[in-house]
Each structure stands twice: as structure tokens, then as C-alpha cells.
Assembly symmetry: C2
Homo-oligomer: 231 residues x 2
Amino acid sequence: MSKEPVGRRARYRTETREEAKAIALRQLAEGGIGAVSLNAIGKEMGVTGPALYRYFASRDDLLSGLIIDAYSDLAAAVELAARQGDQGSPRECLRVLAEATRTWALAQPHRYLLLYGTPVPGYVAPDDTVPLARRVLAPFLDALSALPVAGAPTGSRRSALETQLTTWIQATNPHTSGPVLRHGLVWWTRLHGLISLEVEGHFALMGFDPALLYTTEVDALLDDIGAVIES
Amino acid sequence: MSKEPVGRRARYRTETREEAKAIALRQLAEGGIGAVSLNAIGKEMGVTGPALYRYFASRDDLLSGLIIDAYSDLAAAVELAARQGDQGSPRECLRVLAEATRTWALAQPHRYLLLYGTPVPGYVAPDDTVPLARRVLAPFLDALSALPVAGAPTGSRRSALETQLTTWIQATNPHTSGPVLRHGLVWWTRLHGLISLEVEGHFALMGFDPALLYTTEVDALLDDIGAVIES
DNA sequence: AACTTTAGTGATATAATATAACAAATGTGA
DNA sequence: TCACATTTGTTATATTATATCACTAAAGTT
């Protein structure tokens, strides 16, 4: 049929890379990041351990692949939620975004922790992850932009922070305002606090429904925006 | 002098345990949790690796020791801050508590992550840690109890959550009210969200002062309490 | 002085990352 | 088709880790 721009060899190459990453993902889900082992992956693929070093420069390289995939996957999930939530009001959209984030994290806790948990010792994230991290946050910023949050910030600290954010964002993304970015930051940190503690099991044996705490905090976040408009 | 209730041997035993933990703590600070190695500790102590298995049943046992110590240390730091902040108003005390928590975490990031970060694969926390985790939160609950936050909760979700917390807390600590516990939870999750992201380096290259974001969020937390009183 | 407990050693099993040397399969040009 | 180069795999090896075991030496006890 059509002449393939990428040779068969290159395709096999990416295929085995994907297969290895899929197994690594299962190991991650079953035993945490420490259970991800090139040797074990090789054994499962019917191949010796060192053979995989043709496909991954090191174990960290493999982890980088997992991280990039997880970022892309989470970003896709959030973007999908944004498209679905766009039907309703911006506030409703934010609710949907927050829910989608928690749902994704609970469905695959280890992957969430791979992104936002304790960094792997000695591991340095490649530069590719920066735009991906931005992609996850972007739908939140878009929804916040659709709200009248830009008006008169209250509190000197709040405005000082927004000034810092404004001067920084102008270099990379001038179409995002400081106040919106500040709200995005707050959403990120609060949701992450809730999700990470839940995913790590710190809410276990505490006799309350984490989902209820989550939605209550989302309410509070939406209230915060409301308070700003009123002032 | 006085006959020692605990024999000299037992003292030596705890001493070497402490020495090993001290080295482990340094390894933790230098290279993260993966750098903590019984063999390396033994080498540094002038002893072979297996010798340390007389003092620690396993590597996880050593980590448990580190975790318990870290909890105690953090609890002590928070309690000290509470004693100092008790001079001022409860609101000022909460500010001091929040500041002390962040300061402690930034001074020893790896220890904070040891407590609240990604759980070590295969590691299960011993039961000793539950009361210690409570001890860290207790000063916050005390300061919140001194505020008039118990009055009429607004929002159905909020009150439903407080009902859950009330019925749960009555079994273990009946002198803490549901509303206070809810506020304590919120303080915990929000501060943890900020501290963990900062400690993990997610705020790097983002052109703002994390301390400013932190204090701004503390302001918001105090405002939340105010909003409840007004209603 | 005899006995028991404790603390250390070296040897060993197992498994991990990673490199190097070498062999085989695969694809490409003349 | 055949020679060559590339890619992919192997085995062997270095290094390091956790952990167990058998054995020895030391310290404390009766």
C-alpha cells in the first residue's frame, strides 16, 4: 500500500518500547516505583535484561517515558472533561474538571504519584515534561478566564502575588492574566493536597468520605472566586 | 552511682541503633530514600552489613524508626510553635503554626516526604505512627477550638461532612467537635498541598515566591473561618 | 568457673543496574 | 544475488544491594 515514511525496523523498535512500557506500568501499579525493573520486564518479554538497554538508555530513561505518557494521559482526560463541561457554566466546568482530575488519580494512584509524588532519587525530569505539566493546568486556566475573576483583587499579599505572576507569565504566555494564574495555582495546590493525601492512604481509618471532603473544598474554591467578584 | 534500670548492654544497643539512624538520616538528606542502605551504614560504622541486622529486622524496620523520629520531631516543632503563639490571638497562633510547619519541612525536605510523600513500596506503617500523626495535628485543632467556629455551618455538604466527622471522633476523642475537626482537615490538606509541591520542586522556574503564596493561602484559611462566624 | 546471651564475622543466595565483547538476524547497496 | 553495515540479541562480568546462615568471640550472669 502506501510507502511507510518510517521503516519497519523503526516501527518494531517503538513497538517493543511500548510493550516494555506497558509491562512497566503494570509493575508500577502492582508494586510501586521500586518494582519497576528492566530485568523483570525483559524476562516477561522473553528476552534477557541487557537487551532492553538497546531501547532504554537507563532505568531513568524508562521512567521518563512513563512520566511523559502519564502526563499526556492525564492532560487528555482533563481536556476531555473540559469539552464535556463546556456545555454548562464556567463554574460547572470547573467542577467537572476537578472531578475528572480526582477520578483519574484514584483510578491509577501510582501514576498520579509518579507525576506529583516524591521525586525519584537521582532522577531529573526531562524538559519535555514542562509543557505537559502546563497542558494539564491549561483547561483550569481557560475555565477561570471565562469567569469575572480579574476584577480588583483584595488584600495586599494577594495583589503582590498576582504582580509576580503577571510579570512572569508575560514572557511565555501573555494571554493569561495574573489573577487567573493565581486562582489556577490555588486550585492546583488545594486539589493536589486532597488527592495526594487520599491516594497515599492518609485518609484511611478517618471515618469520613473523601469524596465529600473533595466536593466541599471545590465549593469553597468556587466561593473564593465569588468573594472576589463581590468586592 | 545509681543502679541503672536498663543494663549497659541495652544502652549500647540503643546507642548503636541511634548512630545507625543518624547516618541513615544523613543518607536520606543527601540522596533520598533510595540512598539509605544498611550496607553503607555498616561500612561507615566500621562494621559489616549483616551485623546491623542484629539491630534492625529489615530495611523497612530502619525506615520505620526514621519515620517515628520524624513524626516526633515535627510534632515537637509544632508544639513549640503553639506555646510561642499562645501569647497572641488564636488567629495569630494559627499563623505561627502554619509557618512552623512549612519551615520544618523546608529545612528537611526528605523527612517531610518520608512522612507525607509517596509511601515506600511494600512498606506498611506501624501502628505507632497513628497517634504521632494525631499529635502533629493537635495544636491546630486546639487553636481552632479557641475560635468561635462551631456556630451554624453553611452549606449542606459542609454539614454532612461535619456529621460524619462528629460521629467518628466521638469514639476516640469526644472533646473535639466536628466543625473544628473539619477545619483542621482543611488546614491540613491545603498546607500539605502547598508544602509538598514546593518541597518536590514543582514551583521551581515559576517566577513567584512560594512563601508569598503560602501566607496568602493562610490568609484565605483565616478568612474562611471568619465567613463562618458571620453567617 | 561454667553457662548463656549478644554481637560480630564471612559465606552464600538472590536480584538489581549497567557495560562489554561477541554472535546472529536484518536490511541495503552494488 | 552477494557483500556490507546496522540493529538486535546473547553471555559474561563488575558492582551493589537485601537478607539468611553457620560459626566465633566477647560480654554478662549464676
